[in-house]
Structures are given as C-alpha cells and as structure tokens.
C-alpha cells in the first residue's frame, strides 16, 4: 500500500493556492510559460534532467504544426538513436527483428548475455531462453503516439535497464506513429508483436513451455499496453502483468490537475490536445475509449481476466487525474492494481537514474515482475 498518495492530498491544497496565485500573475496569452514557472520547474528536477526534457519540449514544439501535421523529417533528424548491438554492454545485447514486412514492423530484442556465452553467437540470436521462469516484457515506448522509436537512445537505455532489473527478455515494439498512422495502427502493431512473442518457442519458460508475458510502456506506450492487454485476454492469452509509467490517458472534460498544472512542468494542455487529435480518428473527441477507457464510451473490465497492473503516476504530471481515474476504473472492476504516486516527479523522471523516484520505481518494477518467479 502506498501512503504517498494520501499525503499528497495536503500537498494538493497547497498547490491549489499557489496555482491560483500564479494564474493571477500570468499576463501572456500563452499557457504557463513565464519565468516563475521556469524557475519552479528547475527546482524539482536535477539540472541535467531539466536540460534533457526542456530540449525535448523545444524540439517537439518545432515539430507540431498548428494544422495538425507533423514535421517527420526534422523529427527523425533530431531524434538521437542507437543501433542494435550484438556486443554485450553491461551484460545486455540487442538485435532487431522484422516481424511484419507488410507494415515494416520492427522490434528490438534485448537479451542478457550469459556467463556461459559472454559473446552471443550471431547464429543463435533466437536461442531458447534458459530458466524455469523467464519473464518477457513487451515494451511500448512513449512519445505521445507521435514521437520516438524503439531505437531512440532514451528508450534503448530504459529497455536495457529493464533486462537487468527483471532478469527478463525485453521486446521493444517500433509501432507506427501518428499523425501519419492514426488509431488503431499502434494497437494493431502492438497486437502483432504480442502474437509474435507469444508464438516464439525460444521465449518459452521451461516450467510450463509458455511465454511469460508482461506488457509495459510509458506515456502513449502505457496506453498501448492497456489496450493490447485487453485484446490479449479477450483472445484467451494470458498476460502476467501490466506496467504503466505515466500512461497517457485523457478525456473530454478538463480536470483539476490539468488546469492547475497546465504549462508548469514541461507539458501543456494544448500539446496534449494536439496529440489526441493526431492519434484519434478524425472527428472523434477525447472520450473515445482509446483515450478514455473507463469514460462514457468505455467498457468495464468486470469478469475479464485482466492482468494485475503497476501504475506509476508523477505528481507533477498534468494528466494525473486521468491516470488516477484509470486506476479507479481498474479497482472498481475488481482488478488488482498497485498505484505508485510519485509526488515530486515530473514526466520523464525514469529516463535518468539521478533521482529517488527513478530508483523507487525500478525496485517496484523488479518486484512486480519477480513475484511470479
């Protein structure tokens, strides 16, 4: 049970007051960008984290066009990518697999190098995993459905970490992105990857000759993980757990956290709206079940064997009300869910190992996955 959530109620009141004061001070027409906010933002994260996330914010501002189109070329140019690497780095090696030629769907597989085979044999990349229980984490990178790739440096790094802390094989899915590919492309790609993973004999745990699958993702990736899990259980395939880091959900209504935190910690409502408009089918609003799975158009998960979930919410993320509503929705349907509410965390805190939230979350993830072994 996480008590941080309770103490945040008091913090929230304080924030409300301060928020009100800041609102009064705002003169410019633009959401949230003034010196007070910039300074405040800087006090809650280490400087290099601030630089990193601010650079993303800047780049992303350049890439989104007001007419809803996206400067994909510049996005690809600016994104820092890393190649797959068969040479183990910190005990992890990786290789890419084309799993669907028709859509060009690539996944990057991360495996631990073993003591017996410190230099993976290039012929045996799909060598059977060894172990009674070997978790396989299917990871969906974030980027609000529009940004980043499986080979983005930030996500390559994160996936490598997950291999280590969970003693798992990680499969990172390079799903198609918006606005060029709207709903349901990302989900379809997630589902394709899921089926592919589930059908690999070399990923089966020895205990029961089944693939032990966890779904994980941050931001839009968390959203995708939820929807793929729902589809999986509907198809009768087990998912052992969902790990959602700052998952991207929303709704038509404007919530209190959205209004209070708009523009304060790197993210604005305006950009959130842009990304939903880019992803959701044209003409749909944010109560579409992709965006708002427990909203007016959502569907209850009661009676469905939905996996246990670990949901991480950053206390300075403006969409936290939607994330908390998601957790509530799971609870109401009787699903097992653990909420990690990281009060002083902003978006992206899990990208750099330079803060306590990072380590707390990594430990929780390790335990979450480890508890089945």
């Amino acid at each position: 049970m996480n008590y941080g959530f309770l103490s945040s109620f008091f913090q929230k009141d304080l924030f409300l007051v301060l928020g009100f004061v800041f609102e009064c001070l705002k003169e410019r027409g633009m959401a949230g960008s003034n010196e007070v906010n910039l300074n405040e933002c800087k006090t809650v994260v280490p400087l290099n984290t601030w630089v990193l996330i601010s650079s993303f914010k800047l780049a992303y501002n350049l890439l989104r066009r007001p007419d809803g189109t996206f400067n994909r070329h510049l996005a690809e140019f600016l994104d820092r990518k890393v190649p797959a690497n068969l040479n183990p780095v910190d005990g992890v090696f990786s290789f890419d697999v084309l799993i669907d030629r028709a859509t060009g769907l690539l996944c990057r597989i991360y495996r631990p190098a073993t003591a017996e085979e410190p230099e993976p044999n290039i012929v045996e990349l799909e060598k059977p995993v060894v172990g009674d229980v070997v978790p396989v984490i299917i990871f969906f990178h974030g980027g609000s459905f529009a940004h980043s790739s499986a080979n983005s440096a930030i996500y390559d790094t994160l996936c490598r970490r997950l291999v280590g802390i969970c003693k798992a094989v990680v499969v990172s899915v390079n799903y198609r992105r918006a606005p060029e590919n709207r709903y349901p492309c990302a989900y379809d790609d997630g589902w394709t990857a899921f089926k592919w993973v589930n059908s690999r004999s070399w990923l089966q745990s020895q205990k029961d000759s089944k693939v032990h699958i966890y779904l994980a993702g941050d931001s839009s990736g968390g959203n995708i993980a939820h929807h793929v899990a729902a589809r999986a259980v509907e198809s009768g395939i087990d998912v052992l757990g969902n790990i959602l880091l700052n998952p991207m959900f929303g709704g038509q209504e404007r919530t209190e956290s959205e209004m209070r935190l708009d523009g304060k910690y790197f993210v604005t409502l305006r950009d959130r709206d842009w990304y939903w408009r880019a992803f959701l089918p044209e003409g749909e609003n944010r109560d579409h079940p992709a965006c708002n799975p427990f909203g007016p158009n959502g569907r209850s998960l009661e009676g469905i064997k939905f996996p246990k979930s670990l949901v991480v919410v950053a206390g300075l993320d403006l969409i936290q009300d939607w994330q908390l509503a998601y957790v509530e929705g799971l609870r109401k349907a009787g699903k097992e869910v653990k909420l990690l509410y990281m009060e002083q965390a902003t978006i992206g805190f899990y990208l750099l190992p330079n803060n306590n939230h990072f380590h707390t979350v990594m430990d929780e993830i390790s335990e979450f996955v480890g508890s089945d072994c």
Binding site: S55, R65, E76, F77, E180
Partner: protein, 616 residues
C-alpha cells in the same frame, strides 16, 4: 521504414521547398572538442547528447532564452525554425541552441531591418553572407530512374533535356533554392515569384555574428566521444533464423573449418551448403550461394581472376545504381555538402577518386548552374583504374560531361587520370591552383577502403589530399567492419551485412537490374571471403574507425544538416519496394540503412589546420 512515410502532409508547405539560410556558413564545428572525459555529463551522453557538465547551466540558460523568445514571436517564427532553418548535429546541444537563438535574435550590433521591424525585407546582397544551403534537385534521379538505359551514353543525353526546366517539376522531384526569396511551388507553372510575404523571418543570417565564429579547437585526439565505442554490431533479422538456421550454421561451420585449415571438413560443408541453399527462398538463398562460392574458391585456391575487370564492372555498377538507392544516396549527400562548401566560390575544382561513369556530377553541375549569381567555373579531375579493352573510358566520360556542361552553360574543364591505385597519385600531377583562386573538393565513394590493402597507402593518399588544400573532402563508405584480423569475424560480419543488403534488393521492380546488382555485390563478397593480402580490397571499416583515421591524419568533421537529411529521405521514397530504407543522423554524418541497420555512411571533412597542410 513504412512506419510513417505515407505521407507527409496533404499540402506541402511551399516555404519548405526553399533552401534555408542559417547562421553563417556550413557548420564546421569541430566535434572533437568533445573528447573523452572532457567533463561530459555522462548521463546525457548515454542518451546521445554531448554537454559538458561545466556548460550545463549555460545550456539551461539558452533553453530558457529560447523559450522566452519563442513566446514573444508569432507562430511563424517557430515554423521558420522548423521548416527554414537548417539544423546541424543535434547532439551538440549548446551549439544547436545557439544557432536557433541566432535565427530568432539577429545580432543587436547589426540591424538590417531598420524600419521594417521584423518583417521580411529584401536584403541588400552586400549584407548577406552567402547562405549555404541550396539544395540539390533530384530531377536527374527521376529521369534516370524512369528510363532504363544499358549504356552510359544515354544518361547524359537525358539529363540535358528540358526536363530541367524548373517550371514543370514532375511528381516527387524536389527543387529548392536558397535564401533569395524565390519560391518554386511544385504545382505552380508560373515563373518564379519574388518575395513571399508569408515568410516573416527571412534570411537572418546576415554577417556572421560574434557567436557564430568559434576559433577552431586544437587538433583532435584519436577517439571521439559519445559514439558507440569500438565495435557496435548492429544486426537485423529479416527472416526468422529458424527458417535458415541449418544453412547459416553450415556456412559458419565451413568458415570456421577454413580458418582452422581443416580443408576436408570445409569441403564437405561447402557441398552441404549447396544443397541447403536450394531449399531456401529469396535473398537468403542468393547470399548463401555467393558466400558458398567464395568459400569454395578459398578452399580450392581458385582465386577470382581480375578484381579490377573494369568493363564488366561498369555495367554492374550502373545496374546497382538504378536498382537501389545506395549510390544515389551517396552522390546526393556528398553533392549537398560540396555545394555548400562551394558557396560563393567563383572557380571550383572537384577531384573525384571514384569516377566510374561520372554519374555523380550532372546533378552537382546542374545545381551549380542554377546557383544565384550564376555558376562557378567547374573543373573536374577524375580517377579510375585502367580499362581492359584499352579504351580511354575516362576520356569518354569527360566528353559526355563536357557536352552536358555546355548545354547548361557551365564553364567546364576536365582531366582523367588512369591509375591502378590512388596511392600512385601525387599532388604535382594535378595542376592545382592557389586556393584563393580555385576551391577544391575531394570526393571518394567506396574507394578509400581499397587502400587499406597496402600498408602506407591510405596515409600517402591522406597526405596528398592535404596538399590539395581542399575546402571539403566527402567520403562515402560501407558501414561495416570487414577488415578485422580474424577471418571468421570478417565472414560473420559480412554475411549479415550482405544478407541485409540483398534483402533490400528484393523489392526491386526490374528483375534484370536486381540480378546485375546481386552479381555486383557478389563480387565484393567473393573478395572479402576468398582473397587475402593486396588482393583483398574490400576492406570495409565502420564510421568510428574512419573517424579515428581521419582525425589522426589531420581532418575535422564538417556536419551534414537537416536539409540534406530531409532531401535524402525524400529521395528514398522514390524507390519502389523501399519502405525499409531510412536515413539516420550520426554526429554530423548521414547513414542509410535498411530496417534500422545502417549500411552506408556519408561523412564530410575539412583540414583541421590549413596552414600546416603543405608541410604534411
């Protein structure tokens, strides 16, 4: 990658067709200022950003400044930064931010806008540093693509026809011109219009502001920081290994037997491979066959005759050019860098180490012809190996180029040199003119690695290049290490490299082109596997390795920017069955890959220290 490129936006923003001015000239930031352990923030380095810890606060400040400025300007200012500005080397955060700040904040000491405020004004030429980025037309690619010609002659005739009339740009061909406010709307058939008022932030490049001019850092140390160290081995499996597993196992086992000189076993395995290959389909079968043949040659010591059999090579080379984008990408990106380096020069000289049929040059000449202010005098010196039929093929190529030059009204001079090896070259042969009079660019596409077969050859060539005092050296090489000391490693690396390459050919439209391209690549495979010593010329090395060689030899990187990246990406879209191709930026270099596996790299270089060039 098919992911998103279907396609960009419904109505291409016409302003995106214009070349972009940027702060000053082509970026020449010496990335070597970011050396290992130079106080780099390690956490950011892992994520691909090079920021010194001591600079962090300053970088943060620039971010804040940019945020503030961006709030102040209207939306157009931001879209200008996105669509007009050329970005370079995003890993160097500080410089990247600075260049954007300069775009949005013209230097306060200089106010060309005066009464015009922030509105675009047609700037007096004298205030403008000739901005760099014209962008090449890819019209000739379209032409060459569309018409399959077997002989080299026809390529030039096509290229000279009126398809170059910019008023009628077909289909996806891109034309872009630099700063002078002309727009060429792809759908427009009218004559180029002048200043488009929508463009608020025009050419703010002005004269270089103090912040633009950095003193060249001291000569770099051997290694570069932040690049995947030593060996990165990227692999993409395009088919499940389960399918071809026995075949690959047999190939590897055979190679191992060869390495251990267990020739009986090797022979038995080679035969087995033959059988296994038949049961495979597609690229895997072909690749396996070529590798098996190469192994057989090695086992039976039946070495390939003439690695330099030129006339056949020409034909193969051209089919390869047509079939897949690798050569076009190489030419295109190299030309883009050369064009920028030649900005403002009245006389230019390209020294091409990879002349072949001269297919790289019409596009460059075309772009020079269209340059604002008119083309420079263009001199081309081409090198090539001797031909076996005693024909002076280099001269023929030169004649065709001369005809082309005449049609497009570019003053042209040409000289061809036949040489067995580039190491036979001496600067004195070249009739070099003083660099104030004539700017030199040296170009090498898939040639330098051959020099690694002879000790000292590469160093000799580097030293001769330095004597040429080039503005720019463009180098395109395969992105692979096929030159390691251990045979089995070379075998393994090249097996995966060529498998990926062959896979990319599978989608080709013309089966004849495909076959010829496979033969072309097959010869390389044969060389890597069956040859040794001075005969083994396909000694490919990775970008990291070339970076080390070049910086040790006294060269510094010149960065290729977002305009070249974008145009190269759009070029790839022209290839049918080519959804798997992708361009990647790597510390100022551009890589072309298939399904995220980088296969070739274009890099550009200048002399670190111009004044000592002569003495080297």
């Amino acid at each position: 990658m098919k992911r998103d490129h279907n396609h960009l936006q419904p109505n291409p923003d016409p302003s995106s067709l214009r070349g972009a001015p940027s702060t000053g000239k082509a970026k020449v930031w010496d990335e070597e200022s970011a050396q290992q352990d130079c106080g780099m923030d390690e956490l950011l380095a892992v994520l691909g950003y090079k920021v010194k810890t001591s600079d962090m606060a300053e970088v943060a400040q620039k971010l804040e400044q940019l945020e503030e400025v961006m709030c102040n300007v209207q939306d157009d200012g931001i879209s200008h930064l996105a669509s007009e500005t050329v970005h370079y080397n995003p890993s160097d955060l500080s410089t990247w931010l600075e260049s954007m700040l300069s775009e949005l904040n013209p230097p306060s000491t200089f106010d060309p806008f005066g009464a015009a405020g922030t509105a675009a004004a047609a700037l007096d030429d004298s205030f403008l540093v000739p901005a760099e980025s014209s962008t090449l037309t890819t019209l000739d690619f379209d032409n060459i693509n569309r018409k399959h010609q077997k002989s080299g002659q026809q390529i030039f005739e096509e290229a000279s026809c009126s398809d170059y009339d910019l008023k009628a740009i077909p289909g996806k061909a891109i034309y872009s011109q630099k700063t002078q406010p002309q727009t060429h709307d792809s759908s427009s058939s009218s004559t180029p219009t002048n200043v488009k008022s929508e463009k608020r932030f025009k050419s703010t490049s002005g004269p270089p502001s103090p912040s633009d001019i950095f003193p060249p850092p001291p000569p770099p140390a051997a290694a570069s920081y932040g690049i995947p160290t030593a060996s990165t081995r990227p692999v993409v499996l395009v088919d499940s290994q389960e399918n071809g597993i026995r075949l690959v196992h047999a190939l590897m086992a055979c190679a191992e037997a060869v390495q251990q000189n267990n020739l009986n076993l090797a022979e038995a395995l080679v035969k087995q491979i033959g059988f296994l290959a038949i049961s495979q389909a597609g690229a895997m079968r072909k690749v396996a066959t070529y590798f098996a043949e190469a192994l057989a040659r090695r086992i039976y010591r039946f070495y390939p005759q003439n690695p330099l059999d030129h006339s056949f090579s020409d034909v193969l080379h051209m089919h390869f050019y047509e079939t897949c984008p690798y050569l076009k990408f190489a030419h295109f990106t190299a030309n883009q860098a050369i064009l920028e380096a030649f900005e403002g020069k009245k006389r230019v000289h390209v020294i091409d180490f990879s002349m072949n049929q001269g297919m790289q040059w019409p596009a460059l000449m075309q772009a020079l012809a269209l340059r604002v202010g008119g083309p420079p005098a263009f001199r081309l010196t081409g090198f090539g190996p001797p031909s076996h039929d005693n024909s002076d093929h280099l001269q023929e190529v030169g004649c065709k180029l001369a005809q082309f030059a005449k049609k497009i009204h570019v003053e042209f001079e040409y000289r061809g040199f036949v040489a067995n090896s580039l190491a036979d070259l001496d600067a004195s042969m070249l009739d070099l003119r003083p660099s104030e009079v004539e700017a030199v660019a040296v170009n090498s596409v898939f040639e330098l690695h051959k020099l690694l077969a002879r000790p000292g050859a590469i160093d000799k060539v580097f030293s001769v290049v330095k004597q040429m005092k080039p503005e720019l050296v463009t180098i395109v090489e395969q992105e692979a290490n096929h030159n390691g000391p251990v045979f089995l490693d070379r075998f393994t690396e090249s097996l995966h490299f060529y498998s990926t390459l062959f896979d990319s050919l599978e989608g080709s439209v013309s089966s004849q082109d495909k076959v010829m391209s496979e033969v072309y690549l097959g010869k390389q495979i044969c060389n890597v596997v069956a040859c040794e010593g001075v005969d083994r010329i396909e000694r490919h090395e990775s970008l990291t390795q070339w970076r080390n060689r070049l910086s040790t030899a006294g060269f510094s990187p010149v960065h290729l920017g977002s305009n070249a990246f974008k145009q190269a990406s759009m070029l790839l879209a022209l290839f049918a069955g080519g959804d798997g191709y992708g361009v990647e930026e790597n510390n100022g270099c551009l890589m072309l890959g298939w399904h995220n596996r980088p296969l070739i790299t274009t890099s550009a270089w200048k002399l670190t220290n111009k004044t000592t060039a002569i003495s080297q």
